[in-house]
Amino acid sequence: EAGVAQSPRYKIIEKRQSVAFWCNPISGHATLYWYQQILGQGPKLLIQFQNNGVVDDSQLPKDRFSAERLKGVDSTLKIQPAKLEDSAVYLCASSFSGGRGSYNEQFFGPGTRLTVL
């Protein structure tokens, strides 16, 4: 079974530029998550989708970050314009469902390392 796919693996941009990350979850997984992991810290949830609907985006900086999952499968996370403090690893994860129990077990992709200069 293929895992969670992410691209690109690395990205370097100048501040105020825009950037987009792509994620394809495990086949059949209804729930998709985007996390931000700053160096030395644990992952922090940015947004959670259930199929193509947003379940939680309370920690997403909506003035510059946006995400979509139009067909309920793959997803794109965008930053526009980027700031220096956005330098981090952006992780995508998926689970069979977002509820209680083992159906909520999350599986992570390899991540995208973003450097903002």
Binding site: P43, E105, F108
Partner: protein, 112 residues
């Protein structure tokens, strides 16, 4: 909100040694997972263990939900065990979104 504390924060072992990593959480949880983040940044599932005990090769984990802690045991450590170990929990009381909260992590280095 729930607090998830891991200990020790850093650990250095000689290859072949055993270790115990601890995860304490301040409130009741529905789900709990242990992850290993390797030096390349990949988060690898180790265990889904909201309660009870599980074993997978040299690794085992125990969660005592009533006392709000989980333990990860690594036996006969190898250099490939190096990295950061995270526990992540879903609080029982919440908004219904069942989102995972990650702990502070334990950074492990195994020396050859």
């Amino acid at each position: 909100g729930i607090q998830v504390e891991q200990s020790p924060p850093d650990l250095i072992l000689q290859e072949g040694a055993n270790s115990t990593l601890r995860c304490n959480f301040s409130d009741s949880v529905n789900n709990l997972q242990w992850f290993h983040q390797n030096p390349w940044g990949q988060l690898i599932n180790l265990f889904y263990i909201p309660s009870g005990t599980k074993q997978n090769g040299r690794l085992s984990a125990t969660t005592v939900a009533t006392e709000r802690y989980s333990l990860l045991y690594i036996s006969s450590s190898q250099t490939t065990d190096s990295g950061v170990y995270f526990c992540a929990v879903v609080p029982r009381e919440g908004s219904g979104t069942y989102k995972y909260i990650f702990g502070t992590g334990t950074r492990l280095k195994v020396l050859a």
